[in-house]
Subunit: 336 residues, 6 copies
């Protein structure tokens, strides 16, 4: 099978058990995650070879993070060890009307102070089919944005498919440049982007035409005109009934037509974090292993729906389980 | 901010983890709670200064209970140490059709054998805006009822607002007096009471007039005639779909008009204990910090709804979280 | 009260905590269960005297399994200690669209290599009212099937009521005989059978008559003609909305009329394993302690619904709790 | 094998995990224990049939306590359900210089309010070889002392060997009678007593003769003169280096000679509670199954030493393990 | 009783359970600690009123840290909320030859960016008897050193006794000044210092005179000459047999004579962190409540020895427990 | 660095937490281990590239086991998925006089039914420096022995150093051949063997010469004569004071001289399993990275001593930690 490479920060995630709050807990469950690494790990669990590229401090926490992704079969051999600390985030898991809440503690992380020259992208992309990055990486620091740019350029040149989840988080952009200055050049190198209407407006000032039949189609068309390398624009629609109950639908536009998956009920949600990353992993898996775009989209949504039932950032569902949901079996009937 | 004082027993709560039953568990999660102390702790977490008045045995359990409420910022410096034991209750947490179940083990507790003379109410109520008690306290023992009476009388005399959750529990009244003999004198000293129709009938033989447009209004009017100090009668309506799914609505009558909040869906319920106390805390917070009664009521219900998502007896929601629900945001969307 | 005897394998059940998956867990919760022993334990918890007959290895695991059922009051004094190992099964608990999943590891278990001569059925059935077995036992090995046959024959001769849950699991039949060859002789000795339409077709090639008003009645009539000892055919209908939300209805045919219970909503499901065994236990309890078949059926369904709220294989609900559900109280309102 | 019966209170034991203190813990490990029931459970684990006689409240806690001892094979079928509450004790586990600490909460327990007429001793002692009680039982209440007296009298009359651990705890005697008034009549009915010099002095004013070669022999001789039924006096010497490190030696006097076992090093101590009960159980096992008194004593000490390595009140060592230590193998070498 | 004030950073401490390593753990036990706050909390548990002065981020972690010290009775009402993050440290607990290991993650903490003007020392020191700081505080940042200087100056002026644990950690001094430049001015304001020979050499270039009878006396004399306000120099001698087994002795010099406590065996060590802080707390307690210096020293060592048996940074031993060890009772005999 | 390959079965290890026994536990800690894989994982943690060759069932347990060793950096890409089940072993952790106890449940495992043809040893040994196997592998089945023979032969031919821990376990040899028939041919291909006097006698009837100055030297000389490829014979001496306290010494004979390391005290032992494998890993690491045999031996013993302080089968000590012990620093002093 063909190899997928991802690039981005991995953080330690610390959360009180069950629905406890930080002010009352005496213990924290830990796991490691990051928007791009989650894609690699989910793909690895589906049997796709993957490597994740990142930077860790050379201490027990950095090595623990490496081990955490090796466990699921991700090639972590390109990891650069430098810098001072591992990024962290604290997560309180909500329920019903109470939202889950994240306290980030990632300033000054090893990833944010990475040296772009430390990554040999030519070597990394040998025999690689697909490269995925997200809008979080260039938000972290000028160095991270620079490394991301080099990765995209090299990948394109070497014929690797490039995808991005544009994922605009205003608070993250703290190093002096705006997303609006940085992102266009990066997105220009992409074949596939995850982008919703609000992201397109915020990042590229692209607004669906008034009176357009479908806002997503309109936005996507404009996006493709601006960035001609883009072949597919995808996104998920999430209806939030409560912290415990969401509904999810996948949407894709390929320049000609718009595809939409059925809507899935997710109730109860066991762990919402990484749901978008599981979608991307499923979509990449489907793009590499199925023949049609609607299967890839369906694979992405099914993977995401399953992710919401699994603790941790990573979708640990197997291909067989994802395909069962793709076939419409959402009954959850006991398997002996 | 103005200080709130509460008075009542605090017990150790012991419950098997998750939905385990007592006959099968090898461990118990513990926390400490009491109908009145929960109000103080919830208010403290909302930033309101509070003190709780109670009586503990002078052993490791009594000191652990003190620490448990100090942790959330309640002033426990008035605690009296006397008597033989800490009251306990065992809680099995139900789900779906199975009800949660409490086994009380509070007979002979330090609080039930308190010496009314041990509390210096004059000193306790200095610079205090509000005093809250519940119908559980006078049910425990003659001494507790006596202390409660002294507290109410002193509070009134010192211009402190007095509220009560009348909370009639027939089984608790074991010391020779009936609630119907004791409660009227106590309620007579109150400005605000939590009282539903069945409580009014059981305690004061007040029955809504036949043909009354609204039973709560009718009952409240009669209650206010009997006890002219009462300015507001409040309660919550709880619709019980299952142990895991309830609906909640707040109601208030102020002598002129009846206010009702929207109905909130609570699904799943993480911890139902202390839901009424969170309502009272929210209402007191609102009464002291907002200008209108409907805001106070709304604050009470929003606080209670959030409490149902938090483990333990105490509502650990912040003002910001409560106000978010008051504004109608019950989507539980992830906060980064 | 009259004694009930059950016969079958008990396995250690190992499951990751909460909804964790096996590939990510560092701990397993353990309990012990088996389709027949679960019936005995549920009955014992309801106050009915029971004994379970089985075979364990003479090591720490076998003795732990004995203790686990003694804990709930089952007489385990007839246990035969022989053979090499305790059967195991690993359980991943699903949620929402993700099914719970069992990995069996029972090959070569002590029970599968039991010596039929090791059981003195004459002695075991002294003062016994009811004997229950399931279709799993004869599926395990020729020896187990032989012992089951002897038990049924002896029970019948001694006037003990015999019931079976026919429970056809194709994968289990690995020892060279087919269920279709073995089961008819065993079922012939039964007074009561749990059998759904698909079981009847798979095992006995009995298909509801075309155009029959009710498929269950039609199937049951044919079953009773084939096996004249059968007085009652029962089953449950399970509607599977998701792994977390099922609906359950009980059905009974007694040769003349068909009885159906109300449908119960089970949401959320805490532990689905043993739901069928709890139904059987409730039905046996009802048959022995109530006067009417519809009460027995209702007792079975109520017990099963409660089981779904309790962790582990065994229904730890009391008679009082079961009867509360039978009376229609499914509100799950807090009990103090 | 011959049956042993014990009589006494069983309490729930609640202890913070590891070496945590009560003021800092959010969870408690629970187990059930009592000085006499621990003897029955230890013997049952050694294969000796046993029954324990006690009184519990008819609530979930009482039934959990029953199950806890049934699990290890103790016949609990004589349990009387009456009274208000289960006795409790909280245990902080010390280490090094910090002592383990018990907070009792047993006042008003079901056992303390038992009705002596509720026990049919004639029936209980059918086919019984040995009856064991301790000095804790008559200390709890007049009713408990009365029941104990009846049990001893009946046992003697029916030819059952009677043993007692005199175990004087001054604080326990709160019901108006002194140990010194009550104990002599009870001890008079015993064949075997556990009694150290300080107990003999406190309870019976027996002081070793000045200049006696061995204080234990001197005390024992006087005790046997006072209570002629006594055939054996036994005790253990515990040298307390720290909370984590003790040394243990067993001593026996049979009216003629004094036997002493080797001294065993116990380091680290995993759980010290129940060490004396394990000694008694081992001694009873040895008395019933070996031919010589020194073997019985050795069995008692070996059992006690093993108990100190096992969490909970009950010695879960098997006969094979105890006999290995009796043979002098204390190396703790890994067994595969 | 007279009040004690401490000033310094509080960090969240995160450690794998038991002796697990960071690379293998999926959970972390958390507690909060800091060299100065530990002194306040230990004193509060001994009944001494204390306040701790610090700076936290205004997020859930900061509030959790406040609660953690309020729980043990420390007045946290002076806490300043500012800055970006809570300092953290990860702790692996060793055993035998494996050392415990700390990974600090405190750069950029709220405390390190505190504003010295945010503390009103005049108000803080009203009715205060003793102020304690350590050499860690001025090492963190210029701002922290500045605030420390102001605190010492104000305390001196207001007649408050000042103590310091000089505690030189080379790695901590990263902000451009050396300890050797900063510490002398701060130590000059102290009445009592904890200082060992190596600290005196590293910080003040004070070396025991060659041929001196006692190196500690010689060093102390020179220290007192340099800093005439110092009345007492104290320290502990720790003999490290293994990570699980240490020996501890206290030493004091008062300008005239040298006092030494007995040496205590600590085996096993449950939690070594905070041992020095417990010593200081015990010494302050003794200085304020006993009449003689040797009692104060003895109190410090006894408190420290007990701390080593208690999980967490804080010594949760009571005065009664400390005084028992002071009396020489280190047997750890079970207390009922 | 040069690559090391190991070959052998990996089992799931299930143990009650702390010192609990199987009959009392409701949970099991799990980890994965095997005598040869532990060597690979320990080496990987020391930075040495390693691959482990084994066979797993293609189910969730097999994949979990793969992940468990990938986590520590072992290349598991050669894993063969075939057969029915994962081998298991249950471990009770002893203390003091109570030995730790293993219950194996490995019959019929995937490894025991492996197909020797499934391993491509030529490919596996490309660029490999060292191959290690143990006497457990050929004991499991004829197929395993056959595969082991092929591996050794191929390794030798390709110039790979071959080592074996002869590790004779009589109970394991159940498939019809004796160790004495099988082992000589396998050992003949080895350069280095771990072999103690009793192993040499049991397996090869080699007995130290009477009157020999040193039994190990005498045995080793005979072994080297019989198997001329052997260059080094090594072993450890373990003195077993108790289950919690052992002493360890390493011994090596190289045909000329005998080397012995200092003796290390291991007290307390946290986890004894894998101690021998850590020794082997340390020895291989030392042989490949240091220049002298005594350094390699010292590295092995230091690694083993550290392993006894770490939970799980695998030595998670780093090279820096091992070298610290090699330098004689066994004080366990806290590292900040």
């Amino acid at each position: 099978m063909r190899k997928v490479v991802t690039f981005g920060e991995i953080m330690m995630r610390l959360s009180p058990p069950l629905n406890y709050r930080l002010v009352q807990t005496d213990g924290l469950d830990i796991t490691y995650g990051g928007g791009e690494a989650n894609v690699s790990a989910s793909l690895a669990r589906m049997g796709q070879p993957t490597a994740h590229i990142t930077c860790f401090p050379d201490n027990e926490l950095g090595h623990a993070a490496v081990g955490s992704f090796q466990r699921y079969g991700v090639d972590m051999s390109h990891t650069v060890f430098s810098g001072a600390r591992l990024g962290l985030y604290f997560l309180e898991v909500g329920a019903s009307v109470r939202a889950s809440k994240i306290v980030y503690d990632r300033a000054g992380s090893s990833f944010s102070t990475l040296d772009p020259a430390a990554f040999n992208w030519e070597k990394i992309f040998q025999n690689v089919a697909w490269f995925h990055w997200t809008g979080i990486t260039p938000a972290i620091s000028a160095e991270a944005a620079e490394a991301c740019q080099q990765a995209i350029t090299t990948a394109r040149r070497m014929g690797v498919t490039v995808s991005a989840d544009v994922n605009y988080r205003r608070n993250l952009w703290q190093y002096g440049k705006k997303a609006q200055e940085v992102m266009p050049d990066l997105v220009a190198g992409c074949d596939v982007v995850v982008c919703a209407e609000n992201d397109a407006e915020d990042l590229f000032s692209i607004v669906p035409e008034q009176g357009a039949e479908d806002s997503f189609t309109s936005m996507s068309n404009q996006l493709m005109q601006r960035f001609p390398n883009i072949r597919q624009v995808i996104t998920t629609r999430r209806e939030t009934i409560s912290a415990s109950h969401n509904r999810l639908t996948g949407v894709l536009y390929n320049g000609q037509s718009r595809i939409e998956t059925p809507t899935y009920d997710m109730n109860p949600i066991i762990d919402r974090i990484g749901g978008g990353d599981a979608f991307m992993a499923g979509f990449i898996y489907g793009s590499l292993n199925y023949t049609k775009a609607d299967e890839a989209l369906s694979c992405g949504v099914a993977a995401s729906v399953l992710k919401h039932t699994i603790p941790g950032d990573v979708n640990l569902a197997t291909v067989a389980e994802v395909e069962e949901v793709m076939r419409g079996n959402t009954s959850g009937r006991l398997l002996r």
